[in-house]
Subunit: 165 residues, 2 copies
């Protein structure tokens, strides 16, 4: 086998693990039909997640968020450089942004946001909303007290011992 | 005072609480200079959060996510209809999408994504990335096994006792 065929076989195996995690979570009524895993550069599975929104009363408990959090806890870091996120469905904007904040190296996904929408999930809708100007969004957004709020950043920049991320 | 003047005074007071939470968290080295609170329709503060990314090794531990999670836990729900999110800075895409998933009624924010960018944070960059087609993004995204992954949604739709969200 060539290296790239091996890599593809690995990717398919990892994505299957993500799908299996989602199916198991759905069947156990933990939440929606979504699963994810985070895999390190050496092929170790560092985090596994299934959607737990409804069972944990946590709208942020998406599979990808939980897999990323588990991997970070396991490794003792808030950065996942070199790690790959495998997810049963294209990440919603929350999970995609979480992957950016974690600085994962790559994302491999199965189903699409359109398929998630057809199953009743808001992923595609939220992508559309994020692309709208603030004043056109379905959730009204209002700015207040811009100056006192921005002083937080002045104080941050002036801190000698801050930990950037 | 008119009702709307009262409402504005309340909003300023709540936003100040969010800013204070961010300042306290930053000074205690919990994470970046961001704070948020979630306020119910009756004016009760249901959740408070400050950024804890670096101290908790959790890239998803943004102030808004933590305030939303705390409010949901307190109330025992995954939906915050009628609640308002006050945040010291315009939410990043992760936090904005979390607010959509929680179905908050409104968002009031202080500083802007541009001011966050000037202080070294990736909010604006991640907004730009989310607007890019998948193939143009800085984190490579690849689809695999679309069909087996989509069977999760078929099974979900066929479940009689599912809890939608």
């Amino acid at each position: 086998m060539t290296g790239s065929t091996e890599a593809s076989a690995d990717a398919a195996r990892f994505l299957q693990q993500a799908i299996d995690a989602g199916r198991e979570g759905m069947r156990a009524h933990r939440g929606g039909p979504f699963g994810a895993i985070v895999v390190g550069p050496d092929g170790t599975v560092a985090g596994v997640g299934c959607n737990r929104v409804t069972s944990s009363n946590d709208p942020t408990a998406h599979a990808e968020v939980l897999a990323i959090r588990e991997a970070c806890t396991a490794i003792g870091t808030f950065l996942l450089d070199g790690f790959t996120l495998y997810t049963s469905c294209e990440p919603c904007p929350m999970c995609l942004a979480a992957a950016y904040w974690a600085r994962v190296e790559a994302i491999v996904y199965g189903a699409t946001r359109a398929e998630a929408a057809a199953a009743g999930f808001d992923d595609a809708f939220i992508y559309e909303e994020i692309g709208q100007p603030l004043e056109a969004r379905r959730i009204p957004m209002r700015q207040l007290m811009g100056e006192p709020a921005a002083t937080l950043f002045d104080e941050w920049r002036a801190m000698g011992d801050r930990t950037p991320y």
